[in-house]
Amino acid sequence: MTKPKPKQKSQSEQKSRTKQKSRPEQKSRPQLPKSPTGIQGLDEITGGGLPKGRPTLVCGGAGCGKTLLAMEFLVRGATEFNEPGVFMAFEETAKDLTQNVASLGFDLKDLIAHKKIVVDFVYIERSEIEESGEYDLEGLFIRLGSAIDSIGAKRVVLDTIETLFSGLPNPAILRAELRRLFRWLKDRGVTAIITGERGDGMLTRQGLEEYVSDCVIVLDHRVSEQTSSRRLRVAKYRGSTHGTNEYPFLIDADGISVLPVTSMGLQHTASSERASTGIPRLDAMLGGKGFFRGSSVLISGTAGTGKSSLAAHFAEAACRRGERVIYFAFEESPSQIMRNMRSIGIDLEVWVTKGLLQIYADRPSSAGLETHLITKHKLINTFKPQVVILDPLNSFVIGGNEIEVKSMLTRLIDFLKTNQITGLFTSLTSSSGVLEQSEVAISSLIDTWLLVRDIEIGGERNRGLYIMKSRGMAHSNQIREFLLTDHGVELRDVYVGVSGVLTGSARLTQEAQEKAALMIRDQEVELRRIELERKRTTLEAQIAVLRAEFAVEEIASVKIIGQEKAEKAQLVQGRVDMGLSRNADVTANKQKRGSK
């Protein structure tokens, strides 16, 4: 019966945030006392609940959830705010009501037994009634009064009081009596909800809005493109400001959830913490660290460019860090996603088993946008993930509902940001059009936008990845070639040359060419070196020859000098010898030579 705690916590956080924002105004203006409904979202729209001690009109067509809203107001009042309530039913018996709301987890029987709620079914059968003269509705007053007194009720629901008009004659009396009834309710100080069926050109068939003028809530249940969505609007709230938009709401196993579009506002705190993308080179491109935590990331690209693979990488990386991830898939079943990702070496199943990863797959057409949004809200609130992945966003765009999709995404992104959840969305762009076109609607909401695109060169399609924008970080302006390998995504530098960006085979060819050119250059250098060596060798040989020649010459010269010397000595000796043999006056001769 009570909502999961985290939800309330976040709600109160938001509330306190809004309060902080508008505190200066609130100080000077006393607020109208309000009675909280406990219905998720409704209290935010109405700034705290329905006007306390006054009647509120809830109107709308058949099956739009009037009775349920009224019932939840009572049940929450009885269970959460200790305000017992009286439900006066004009259309359904107490038994039917109990059964109907049991599916929402409201144990009416128990509440009735504990004197928290009184259900009084008012039976009116026109055919049984004959009118004779003037009457009044004092019976109704007495009934209501005794019911209120029996449990000290603070809340009252009259569902649907207009039934009186078909059951009783003399509308003039009825109108006067209803006017008296609403005044009486005010005097009793009970907070009341009066439901009314939508009429032609009027909020209600009998114009009840004339009498109940304090607060009017209009419910609507419309079908567009074969999917239904419920909406709630506060048409009037006397003495209080209120959200004026049409807010989508959902009726599910926990009752009503209203989703205020603007309640989140732009008050979220921005984290400077970073989360790795799971691809080191991509982290490097994103200022070296990856995405900001709590930021919104869009991966857009044409078919088959690996958007989901990038998403899966991020999911896996988050799980590795021990974070929780919700993966909303709109085109593939969980098992298909897991199989496909296994082929590139990402095992998601492990994390699903460990309870860190939840994969929800449903077709966007399975419900209205709002229903999708609120279901996601609830899942996120329950699981409390750090990362949410939506793959892909475009499936929501059916026909011309892009504005609604944008509004839904705005709210989703706001919600994620408020809760510091990193949101990663993929978006399929048509290859024919301008790549940026289909995202224009949401691009402004996105913090980091990766574009994966085909690069067609040389009869090949290759994947290129670049960062369109990434708020708040220095990011690479380079295009990277994006490869899907059996061990995940790989990023490679592309060849950027005179002929532009080259990828794939063209890149390989280019690289080969470069390699060849390099080789030739290397060879030339080698050649030159050898040549030099050869020259040196030649030169050295020449030097050796010269040296040898010189040596020969030297030896010859030395020899000649020696010979000359020897000859000269011999010549001297010869002359002496000759003198001796001639017996010449050696002495005289010696003296002569000596005197010379």
């Binding site: 008012v122 009116i124 049984e128 003269g133 003037e134 009457y135 004092e138 009934r143």
Partner: protein, 103 residues
Amino acid sequence: MKTNPAQPKAESNRYILRLYVAGTSPKSANAITNIKRICEENLQGRYELKVIDLYQQPQLAQDEQIIAVPTLIRKLPNPLRRIIGDMSNTERVLVGLDLRKNA
């Protein structure tokens, strides 16, 4: 006062009537006078009329499904009929009590 179960043996044209009023408002007073007169004139001797003040027994309003006041309930003969108002229109009261066709 509740219908006495010991009375079914009474003849089929016996009328058991309850008039629910709220205090002593002029409408209530008128209704009491009017119904008494009508009963005396049309059902003399074969009717049982009880006047119940809802202020005294508010629980009866829920038990008897009373919304409008005054309400006259014809418990017997079947089917159950309700006549609301101060009973000033005798003709309508007679129609409501299925007495017109007899007349």
